[in-house]
């Protein structure tokens, strides 16, 4: 088990390292001079040279990379020009919003996906199954930004039940906070719920067709136990990796959701920093995104080990 997790940790660390090189290179290799991009239109050559020095651009690429990575490991991601503050401090401010959004979406998604996935598989070919499959198909095909706009149109504009956007931290009132996070979470969680549901249904069907279910049934184990315990436990294992993978993407999907609902999270920050060409901020945010993705994958591997005795050994 330790060997497996150590192996996964090593290869994920490798991925993170590779990704950081890629981020660094993409940002450096872009056409145009970041120093120029950072300056106002009428900057003098002296000002640009000064900026180049500040950015460390006159040094060799490997040195620049080492400095940047060393800084990043120590929590120093540079300084944002747009906001005139440290990137790490800025992220520290915005990250909780995105986390709040992602976790609420995750909770909503799993609350929908697990029961429907299991019940659809257990009632394969019946009305409930068809309904679940159609709803799931709608869910995965729905563009998150369109769904967001439609929900604003319906729940905020027409019915006036919920606010159309903005963020209220849970610390300043749970009810108000929930009202603000609900629409964005549903918009973000729908596609995720549909994906998980479809995956779970497929693996459940696979497991329910296996011999050990038939044998357990032949020995009087009740159908409910077979479905909710035997089959779900086995089906969870292949589903999990994919779930973790898409959760990483869910965090990314937050870009669109945060833009639509005006949430001051990392996603919107990334969008704004890109439009403003705030390179240190872009670098830091993308790196963080990848790191979170890698961390989630590692967490899923650990869960995988807990669920599958064949790996635990």
């Amino acid at each position: 088990m330790i060997g497996f997790l150590a192996g996964r940790a090593a290869s994920l660390a490798l991925v993170l390292f590779g990704a950081s090189i890629l981020i660094f290179l993409v940002v450096r290799a872009l056409p145009g001079d970041p120093a120029v991009a950072l300056m106002t239109q009428n900057a003098t050559p002296e000002m640009i040279a000064e900026m180049r020095r500040t950015l460390g651009l006159e040094r060799g690429l490997p040195t620049q990379f080492a400095l940047w990575l060393g800084g990043a490991l120590g929590g120093d991601l540079g300084r944002s020009f747009m906001f005139s503050m440290d990137v790490s401090a800025l992220i520290g401010e915005r990250f909780p919003v995105t986390l709040h959004l992602a976790l609420t979406s995750l909770a909503i998604a799993l609350a929908i996906a697990i029961p429907t996935g299991v019940l659809a598989a257990a009632n394969k070919g019946k009305a409930l199954d068809h309904l679940c499959r159609v709803v799931a198909m709608v869910g995965i095909s729905m563009p998150v930004f369109w769904q967001g706009l439609l929900m604003i149109l319906l729940f905020a504009v027409t019915l006036g039940w919920l606010p159309p956007g903005g963020y209220v931290s849970p610390a300043s009132g749970l009810g108000d906070s929930f009202a603000h996070i609900l629409l964005p979470s549903v918009a973000l969680g729908t596609a995720y719920a549909a994906t998980v549901m479809r995956m779970l249904r497929a693996s459940m069907l696979d497991v329910l067709g296996r011999e050990h279910i038939a044998v357990a049934r032949a020995h009087g184990i009740p159908e409910r136990t077979l479905v909710w315990r035997d089959a779900l436990h086995n089906a969870a294992i292949p589903t999990l990796t994919a779930v973790g993978f898409s959760f990483g993407y869910l965090l990314a999907g937050a870009v669109l959701t945060e833009v639509i609902f005006n949430l001051p999270g990392m996603g919107r920050l990334l969008y704004e920093s890109i439009l403003a060409r705030d390179y240190p901020l872009v670098q830091g945010l993308v790196l963080l995104n990848v790191a979170v993705f890698v961390a989630i994958n590692f967490a899923m591997d650990a869960l995988y080990v807990a669920l599958d005795p064949r790996i635990r050994r």
Partner: protein
């Protein structure tokens, strides 16, 4: 004595066990010793049987004989020469029939395409027409109708598929064929048909077979000589009749007893084949052997006898004490 057609000299095959990326750094990777120091010779025109239970290494040995996998140690000689020298020529003379007729035929190709493939690879049959004629001839020779060429494997029964597999092996007129459990996936009534076909082809085309099987009755019926494998090693070699009448190695005895039992009775060799990753020291069979003595745990028994008939057991080599 004539030069044997196939000669394996002390061949071994070890596989590295797949492990986590870091595990290899901490300790030496465990190895599966699938085949360990096997010497075997098959004479021209002979049917050599190779029996053993799962994990005995018999299928691996069959692949080594055809150089479908490189041996870790030892050498393979074919018709007195090193087949590596001209692998392409060797492939034309040595062929294989596989166990699972479902998996051994490419499901997206027609029978005709499957049979034409070896002809294309070796540039046999100048024209498309000539190839088509050869395919029809092959199909007839294995007891199928020539129009089977247009069918897909899934449209055929298991027995018919195995006939196609045999026809493919015959396509480029080899001298030697490894048959890897060619009947074990088939029903009893079809097994007999295929076994008869194999014998008929062997006699008509003067073929030499290495016949791998776990079915002792079939091996006795089909083979001239038989080698018994246990955990990667050959424990006994002899004529099929002699082995059936009076097996000498205790494992061969147990195998025969289990295969011919008429009432439910224990095999007398409790337990199961140990893992080839950590085979027992000395004679690999000693933990399950009723006759084992201290020497069996210490010393690997050498094979005694000649190339035709031999046994590797301390019982025939000064005792087990």
């Amino acid at each position: 004595m004539k030069t044997p057609l196939l000669e394996l000299a002390a061949v071994s095959k070890h596989y590295e066990v797949a492990a986590a990326p870091l595990a290899g750094l901490l300790s030496e990777r465990p190895k599966v010793r699938a085949v360990e120091g096997v010497s075997l010779s098959v004479a021209q025109g002979e049917i050599m049987g190779l029996v053993g239970e799962s994990g005995s290494g018999k299928s691996t040995l069959g692949r080594l004989a055809l150089l479908l996998e490189p041996p870790t140690a030892g050498s393979v000689r074919f018709a007195g020469a090193d087949p590596q020298a001209d692998l392409n020529a060797f492939r034309r003379r040595a062929q294989m029939v596989f166990q699972d007729p479902q998996s051994s035929l490419n499901r997206s190709k027609t029978v005709g395409e499957i049979l034409a493939m070896p002809l294309q690879v070796h540039d046999v049959g100048a024209s498309r027409v000539a190839r088509r004629a050869r395919v029809a001839e092959l199909l007839t020779s294995v007891g199928l109708r020539a129009d089977a060429a247009t069918r897909y494997p899934h449209e055929l029964s298991g027995g018919q598929r195995q006939r196609v597999g045999i026809a493919r092996a015959l396509a480029i007129e080899p001298a030697f064929i490894v048959l890897d459990e060619p009947t074990s996936a088939l029903d009893v009534s079809i097994q007999a048909q295929i076994a008869n076909l194999l014998v008929e082809l062997q006699q008509r085309l003067a073929l030499t077979y290495l016949f791998i099987s776990h079915d002792l009755r079939l091996v006795r019926w089909l083979c001239d000589r038989v080698a018994v494998m246990y955990l990667g090693r050959i424990v006994e070699t002899g004529s099929a009749a002699a082995l059936w009448q009076a097996p000498r190695h205790p494992y061969a005895q147990a195998l025969l007893a289990a295969a011919t039992a008429e009432r439910a009775a224990p095999s007398g060799i409790g337990g199961e084949v140990p893992s080839p990753i950590a085979p027992p020291p000395g004679c690999a069979f000693h933990p399950r052997c009723a006759f084992a003595g201290p020497r069996c745990a210490r010393e690997v028994p050498a094979s005694r006898g000649d190339a035709q008939t031999n046994v590797a057991c301390h019982l025939y080599d000064g005792g087990v004490a």
